[in-house]
Subunit: 294 residues, 5 copies
């Protein structure tokens, strides 16, 4: 265990589980590469037409083991139906909330569909919660989050916050992946007690409507540096988002690790390709992580 | 018990009850034919003018026994008032939520009117919950569902989800029985931990407004194959819906079973006919099931 | 106790209390005549200007005893302040919800103001709940109702549902006392587990906007026959509603009992007259009940 | 203790505390004069500019002792910070809800800010609850009230209901102090189980928009007589409201006591004057009460 | 301990903790200087561009120790991650609610993100709650506040209320820092049982739309005198608000202490400067406090 985990004010249970995730899986050097798999709920099966095999959670969990991932994040249904075959081989992150993309998103809220206690029951090593930073439904979101954070604290389960800027006020202020929005989101997760925060890579060039100090010519490296600083003792994971070009992704991964992020959480960029290709790309991401022990 | 049930990550109680439903009733081969009877609440007594005898739950429960059904699904009132006469002869599925068709349906939500604990008290072998996939009231729906799923897990009662696409966004995207909508609904039920999911037969020809990968010329068989795959280790029941022609219904039943569905849940197509006719049609459905042991 | 009560799937406590109400009071033949007295809350004191004496709950309870009623239905305040003087002389029905007529009624909901446990504490033999069938506030109504039904089940207290069609969709479909609306309301109460349902006498001639099968030339007797059938093992009480002509009321009482109703629940038609007149009219109602033992 | 308290169906604890308030303080003859002091919350400090000394709860509590009041009604903050100095010298009525006058009042609701249990902890002899009769927020108001009434019942604490007609429907029907509105409010409090109800003096001349039977030429005495009757075994307190002329107030006090009210609850009419004047006016009110022992 | 604390009706636990804050830290004379640090949540990281070092909670806590502050107020995340290094050196105030500035503020509500019990777990000596006086969401705000106040009472933790006027009705009545609004806010906090209230310095010159008695030519000293009086046995802290000129701030501090306030709570005016400057300004504030022992 590095000084890093030792300094975060963590309870013994959280430290033990984070240690397992960060030092007994993946690169085993304090970094992390996670495989998120909640897109079937968030976007529907349309995400799997590119690589139909990826529609199966069994395929995904096997991929997480083969690719040396530090964890796979799924909803309760797949945790119950599929994780028993892979228990112990790759850490489970139980995603506790989620929603479909169908109804209008003006008052974005990701309702709970599982409890922290269930993560314990299933042998998960962490839980995930999507917080829609900036949504008009902020009060209900914070109320749900409070319940989750307290249960995670009580049970010693690390809490990973998907800190996603959302809502019309965000759209009007640079959008959901502007430097302004991502920086604010990282800070909110940290102030509210997340152990790990998952953010999009910030876009400093999206400056239309952002708050004044962000309306400057920052570089991508400056932006991601600031975001990691704003997360203040909250471990940072950079999200892959929609499938994009390999080199661009690797560049961002590299900049993020330079900035002090703990790791990467890439889903569609991994499994929306053919199997060998997935493993090949995961290996390239591992190369980046190997160079940044924590 | 087939490998099938053994592989679903089920608790002992759920396995015992599903075994009873699937192997000790009906075709006794792992398939299922269910008789749903909540239309008096959902549509009012108007559904019984075609065959007034069907307005009586006693008639229906007797029919379920005579027709060799694997279960009859009713609301709490009829479970309490009528099931005592048929206990042990046909499994009871307690439907836990429901609504009238009277108020506007823009924010469709099916409120709870019974608890899983009551299913236990009444000797039911499963519970049913209607989830309106895509409704603007998604957050309240998921909250209700969470409570039901956790109680069903705790008490070892199988949970059947009526996964019904609903709401204006669904209407604008192919409608409630488009391939897109049904496929998404099956996936949602699986991600959220249903043991069994009840869906409408998908209509791949309804392509107006659907998401891109669904806007192709899929056959009905391709569509139902995909839906069953999307349900990933969640047993699939195909709903009969409004009364339709026998041959068309049997075709769909056949395609569904070919696709790997576990069975059929037909209500109005059964009891909106005269008694002998009901039994005759049930027998034809059994012929389909007999050919697809699980 | 008749076969009737024996066949309803009732718990021992419910059976004991219904037996007391139906066979140890009133006509003592399984029928019932109830005196409802919640109009002071629902309409305000204006209902008592016709007969000011009726403004006093003491007067009403005395009248219930003198007139041989099977029960008197009041809100918690009067149950606490007045019933102690008449305990044992006439059964108490504690009405658990209610509202004033002052605020707009678009989203009709009758909020709870007492609990089933309080009915036990006060020695009541039944509880009453107003369900607004068809209201846009259906989800909150069902949620309240669920709580009441479960407590009544747990404590063995019979549950009487005031099944009242309400809301703009009802207004547009024949109105609150159309055959369509009353028939649906009776069915809903039965599906949701009421022990007794109180409905208005149906008006088959109100056909504007009703669902198709109701848009026929049904007689009043046909309509009330259907409503009692729709109530399926739920005992039916016909409501008096606003004060009307004696002969018309007696005709409806007669038709209702012929149809198989258990009894009548008449308030304003009783106490909005002078005392002797009230008793005289109650006696005429008793004549009808005497002829229809259950 | 008079027959009066004996006949109200009260629990022992409620009887003991009402006995203390009505027979061991003030006129000690079953009547009551209360000093309400929640205007600082309801209207803000602007109410104290007329007599700045009255801004201090210490001044008010001392005044309640000196003026021979039967109780002083304050919110939790002042009960905790100031009552310890006057405990035993004047009964405490803990007002459990309240609101500022700042936000719009269309859906008037007075949210809870203290619990009945806290009244017990502080040695209060009664609790107060503001019910906004006629508000569109009726369902939330009744829900809050139910919780308070049940706790007061369980703990044996008398419950005083501030029965205030409010909302646009009230404004359209004679206004908040019309005979119609006040009469309805008194009845609602009684039906819902208040032990004591506080109402405004009714204005029978406000007839515009009232329900039919109220649109007659009633005298003030006839109106207040009716209101006390509508309160049916609920003790009635007449509210002073805004500061007005002494003789007019004394006339209304006299009429109220003639009608059978239990007493008066005057705040601004007492403390919005200089100290000696306050005591002088309280003495005149006492003269009225002395003449009407209960 | 001064008579002051002895007279406030405090429980032993609250007295012990307030004694620690007011007499064992800072000026140790019953006054207080607090360092609030929740702006990263309320405004986002933009507040730290002026002095990037201040983005780190570690820097802030160290500053609180060096500057002789009586406490540092942070959200749960920073209390968990950073306070363990400074425990015992400066009292912790756990801020229990907060929100981002992103969504529209019409119905301002600051949702809870931590519980009083957590303050105990972390060794905090007080909790903070933001109450938006005048918001249309008053009922939900009061409900949250009630829960916090009761837990603080039960656990003996002092409760500091950030009493902030907010909402369109406030904007229309002089704005959030008018004398009218601040005076009302101080009174509300006191009536609702705050132990300490944090208010903005009142602006008597903002008279447009205020209630009548405030529409006079009051001096700043008269205004702050009145506000402290309105807080009635609730200790008053004056907020610094946005960074302003030193002499203006010191004048207001001086006037506040003259009026009887307990102290100051300055954030951005402290840490939005370079480190030595921060300490120098804190020292000047201490000079004011030293002259006003309580």
């Amino acid at each position: 265990m590095t000084t890093n985990l030792r300094d975060l004010g963590l309870s013994t249970g959280k430290k033990a589980r984070l240690n397992r995730i960060l030092y007994q899986h993946g690169a085993r050097n304090g970094t992390a590469l996670f495989l998120p798999y909640d897109q079937g709920l968030e976007h529907g099966p349309r995400d799997f037409f590119a690589n139909p095999a990826a529609g199966s959670p069994q395929y995904i969990m096997k991929l997480a083991v083969e690719g040396g991932f530090n964890g796979v994040a799924v909803q309760i249904g797949f945790a119950e139906k599929f994780y028993w075959e892979y228990a112990g081989e790759v850490p489970l992150i139980l995603k506790l909330n989620g929603k479909t993309e169908i109804p209008p998103d003006d008052e974005a809220l990701s309702p709970l569909n599982a409890a922290v206690e269930e993560a314990v029951r299933l042998g998960a090593d962490a839980v995930g919660y999507t917080l829609y930073v900036g949504t008009p439904a902020q009060d209900r979101d914070f109320a749900q989050y409070l319940e989750v954070r307290q249960a995670a604290q009580r049970l010693g389960i690390p809490l990973i916050v998907w800190a996603y800027p959302r809502g019309s006020a965000i759209d009007a202020a640079g959008g959901k992946d502007s430097f302004y929005a991502v920086d604010y989101a990282a800070r909110v997760a940290s102030e509210l007690g997340a152990d790990i925060v998952k953010v999009n890579f910030p876009h400093p060039e999206k400056r239309s409507g952002v708050r004044k100090p962000y309306d400057e010519g920052y570089s991508e490296q400056q932006a991601i540096d600031a975001v990691v600083r704003s997360a203040n003792r909250t471990l940072v994971l950079i999200s892959g988002g929609e499938k994009a070009g390999d080199e661009a992704m690797l560049d961002k991964a590299q900049m993020s690790m330079e900035a002090g992020a703990t790791g990467l959480i890439f889903g569609r960029n991994i499994w929306q390709r053919e199997h060998t290709e997935s493993l090949r790309f995961a290996a390239r991401l591992h190369e980046v992580l190997d160079k940044h022990p924590r």
